[in-house]
């Protein structure tokens, strides 16, 4: 039997209402033996060999943070690119400063160009937004380099602009490019379906095995630095599972990876395809055969209702939008219902991507129908994202036993823009309506959908509890969570949404010894300072993993 290690701390915030505050936690192997004080756990310590480890004596121990919805593969594509965002990003290898203003944006690109060692390596910069950076054109980017391909990708992913060297690198005939209705060769601009044409050439480079592996290694560091010990890959295999799976295993199933990944595959191929129910079930069940220690498929699947929130393709109910808005369905409503029924009747737990209130409505209409046909308790049907919703939908979620996993960063990054250009103040200030969810006791987690928001749980909790927009406005004070609710949304409730509440999410005897070690106490610093709390590191399955400071 392994020796017991007792970690003492300034405070152990267990997130268990029965014993919320403690000063010591005893761990054996990957398991918590007891939480309490050195005195209270004496019977264990007298009966078994143990050591007292006081390295956290000045710190605060919390349950390991959980992000139930992020996208490792998307992150692997994006993280090797250079971030040039208007908002700050904290990355393990770099604090990305806020870049605002046209000249500042160009200066940033020039600086990156100078720093790059290989003169031929394409410069991919992500984060351009005309509101902050002004328009950039092919000519503008020729001013950065005439020899190195320079590609500037929009923060919301739907447009990119390239210089002459990129066109040459692509080998794209000018006249051929010009034919495309969503490509403007004179401006060097590829948008919407025109992006496919650009990535036809880029993918050889951006998805090349070495670069993808480098991206996953960066993702590994990002997840650790955020203080996570569990994440959900909420669309496992989003590009191509057979390409991604070996890369994920190689990059993440390592002794020094301090987190686990719950793999939630799409219930059906994203773009459609065969839908014979039995085959879908067989496929979802069969995926579990490949499970490793850290990467696990289980009885959760993902469905998609309407289009994305950053892409502006969500389906809005009345009264629609200020601008000429066109929502899209990712799955036809009839197919959505049919596939949901297939998995519901097999006992699966279903997560539904819903961005707009009409998307939420489709998910809830479907859930209500399935409950009528074949009632289930404890089904964990979860609405994911929850950008725009109505209060009545929240009440209906409570009635039907649904959960919520909310992208709260929408309020911070898009709150002002959607107030002014799309939804008006009333609905923009009530995006991601956490307060109503809490008032109806709907189990509610927050997530980042990384790379849609920074993979920093304390940052998510900060937005959840303050609803401060990037311009500094409080967006919808009544929809804020309390500090405690916000901390639950990245621990206990996130574990519940992932169906892992018996193993993780709080600190109590019998659970996994997953901790996030904070250098300040969230309950002392208060909601407005949550995102500033320094993280010492984590303990994953009983083993400490300090975060190495930036070089």
């Amino acid at each position: 039997m392994e020796e017991i290690t007792v970690y003492t701390a300034r405070a152990v915030r267990t997130m268990e209402p029965s014993l919320p505050l403690a000063t010591a936690v005893a761990v054996r192997g990957d398991q918590i033996i007891e939480v309490g004080s050195l005195e209270s756990m004496q019977p264990w310590l007298q009966a078994h060999p143990h050591t007292i480890d006081d390295r956290f004596a000045e710190h605060v121990i919390m349950p390991g943070f959980i992000d139930p919805h992020l996208h490792p593969s998307m992150a692997a594509l994006l993280l090797p690119m250079h971030f040039t965002t208007a908002l700050e990003w904290k990355l393990p290898w770099q604090d990305v400063p806020s870049t605002r203003g046209h000249n500042e944006f160009l200066d940033r690109l020039k600086a990156i160009d100078l720093e790059m060692e290989d003169p031929d390596e394409p410069l991919f910069a992500w984060g351009h937004h005309p509101i902050w950076h002004g328009e950039v054109y092919r000519q503008t980017l020729n001013g950065i380099s005439t020899t190195r391909p320079v590609i500037v990708w929009h923060r919301g992913f739907h447009t990119l602009v390239v210089n002459d060297a990129t066109v040459e690198w692509m080998g794209l005939d000018e006249a051929e490019g010009e034919r495309h209705p969503q490509v403007n060769m004179a401006e060097g601009r590829f948008f919407e379906t025109g992006l496919s044409l650009a990535f036809r050439y880029f993918n050889k480079f951006t998805l090349a095995p070495k670069r993808f592996a480098d991206g996953l290694e960066r993702l590994r560091q990002v997840v650790h630095h955020g203080g996570h010990t569990t994440i959900g890959d909420m669309a496992a295999g989003m590009f191509d599972l057979e390409m991604e799976w070996p890369a994920l295993v190689k990059a993440l199933e390592r002794d020094d990876t301090p987190f686990r990944v719950q793999m939630i595959p799409p219930a059906m191929p994203l773009g459609g395809g065969k839908k014979e129910g039995a085959k879908l079930i067989d496929r979802a069940v069969g995926l579990r055969e490949r499970n490793t220690h850290r990467l696990r498929f289980y009885d959760h699947v993902k469905l998609f209702a309407d289009g994305g929130f950053y892409a502006g393709l969500m389906q809005l109910g009345p009264p629609g939008a200020i601008d000429a808005h066109h929502g899209e369905w990712m799955t036809p409503p009839e197919t959505f219902e049919e596939v949901a029924r297939t998995f519901w009747n097999e006992g699966f737990r279903i997560h539904v991507h819903c961005s707009g209130d009409l998307g939420v409505e489709l998910a809830l209409d479907t859930l209500e129908k399935l409950q009528w046909e074949r009632p289930r308790f404890n089904h964990r049907f979860t609405i994911e994202h929850f950008g725009v919703s109505t209060p009545e939908q929240v009440r209906r979620m409570a009635d039907l036993g649904a959960c919520a996993s909310v992208n709260i960063y929408y309020v911070h990054e898009l709150g002002d823009a959607y107030w002014k250009h799309k939804l008006g103040h009333e609905r923009a200030s009530q995006m991601s309506r956490l307060g109503t969810l809490a008032r109806h006791n709907v189990p509610t987690a927050v997530h980042t959908d990384f790379t849609m928001a920074p993979a920093l749980p304390l940052n998510s909790a900060w937005v959840a509890a303050t609803r401060i927009s990037e311009a500094g406005h409080v967006m919808g004070a009544e929809e804020r969570l309390s500090l405690d609710q916000a901390m639950r949304a990245i621990t206990t409730e996130a574990a519940y949404v992932l169906g892992l509440e018996h193993e993780i999410g709080s600190i109590r005897a019998g659970k996994k010894a997953d901790f996030t070690i904070l250098q300040q106490d969230p309950y002392e610093v208060g909601a407005e300072n949550l995102r500033e709390i320094p993280i010492w590191g984590t303990v994953f399955e009983g083993r400490p993993f300090p975060i190495k400071p930036l070089k």
Binding site: G194, R200, G271
Partner: protein
């Protein structure tokens, strides 16, 4: 850069789930139109190709006895198009079955912009029984209306299930939704390839499948004098709604060295530079297909030349 003539034409078949797009495509694949088709299916159903036509299965690709291929595309339409373009024997035409919730105009952008391809046109298939209810449905109203608006040709399908007065009412309604869009009726996908996909060449052999449909008429026209670009466009745009398609090689006075390729699908009209005449005596040749009872060679000649001879 490939000339217009060398690009493979792409026809997009759109329409809501259950409108009968696959039935239409099966009918096309079984037809004796002599063209090699590549069909890309992007719908949420299985590839439901008529078993009698299938020669071999290979993963997501189905080879058909008549030399055509079918494949499913999950998301990556561009990849699927590249695979088709890389086939040892390129197909004569690509048909994309759009997803039931797609805006076919968006899919059509691939035809307009993908290297090696050109857009033939957008055909939206309409379930005559359900389209009006769907156009008011709380979830899909906007999607269905967008699909109607995107069409170059509307196919009112499943007419066998519609009583005469129902059919009249839905036709009337469709004309209001998509004013000026050419409208055809069909049941069980029974539409000639020449109408759906266009005339394969100028030889009348290609229209054999038209003979079985007495409502379709064709006419062709030849003329050795040059046309004025603007004048020709104005005359073609004045054609009645019963003209569904036209195709032609045109001799233009502002570029007498090159043939120009004329394409008309519904109201979608294009005239692009084609190959040089290369010693051949320049002359214009145009064929039309439509349902207007006036379509005949005399009418066609008159409409194009008017007071010229």
């Amino acid at each position: 850069m490939p000339s217009t003539a060398a690009r493979i034409p792409v026809t997009v078949i759109g329409g809501y789930l259950g409108a009968g797009k696959t039935t239409l495509i099966n009918h096309l694949l079984a037809g004796g139109h002599g063209r090699r088709l590549a069909v890309l299916v992007n719908d949420f159903g299985a590839i439901d190709i008529d078993a009698k036509l299938i020669a071999a299965h290979d993963g997501d690709t189905i080879s058909l006895a008549n030399g055509c291929v079918c494949c499913t595309i999950a998301d990556a339409l561009g990849d699927a198009l590249d695979k088709v373009l890389a086939m040892p024997a390129a197909p004569d035409q690509i048909v994309i079955e759009a997803s039931g919730v797609a805006n076919p105009a968006k899919i059509a952008m691939y035809g307009q912009g993908w290297p090696g391809l050109r857009l033939d046109g957008i055909v939206t298939v309409v379930d005559g029984e359900s389209v009006r209810a769907r156009a008011d449905d709380k979830f899909v109203a906007a999607t269905v209306r967008q699909q109607l608006a995107a069409a170059d040709l509307l196919v009112l399908h499943k007419t066998d299930l519609l009583a005469e007065e129902q059919q009249t009412a839905v036709r009337h309604w469709l004309r209001q939704q998509a004013p000026g869009t050419r409208l055809l009726a069909a049941s069980f996908g029974d539409l000639p390839a020449a109408v759906l996909l266009g005339q394969g060449s100028f030889s009348s052999r290609q229209y054999d499948d038209l003979a079985a449909h007495d409502i379709y008429r064709t006419a062709s026209f030849q003329f050795s004098g040059p046309f004025d670009r603007e004048c020709l466009a104005a005359r073609i745009k004045a054609w009645p709604a019963g003209v569904l398609r036209a195709k032609g090689l045109v001799y233009l006075d502002d570029d007498p060295g090159h043939a120009h390729i004329l394409q008309l699908v519904g109201r979608r009209y294009s005239l692009e530079q084609g190959p040089a005449w290369n010693g051949e005596t320049p002359a214009s040749r145009i064929v039309v297909i439509g349902t207007d009872p006036d379509i005949d060679p005399k009418w066609l000649r008159g409409s194009l030349l008017q007071n010229r001879q």
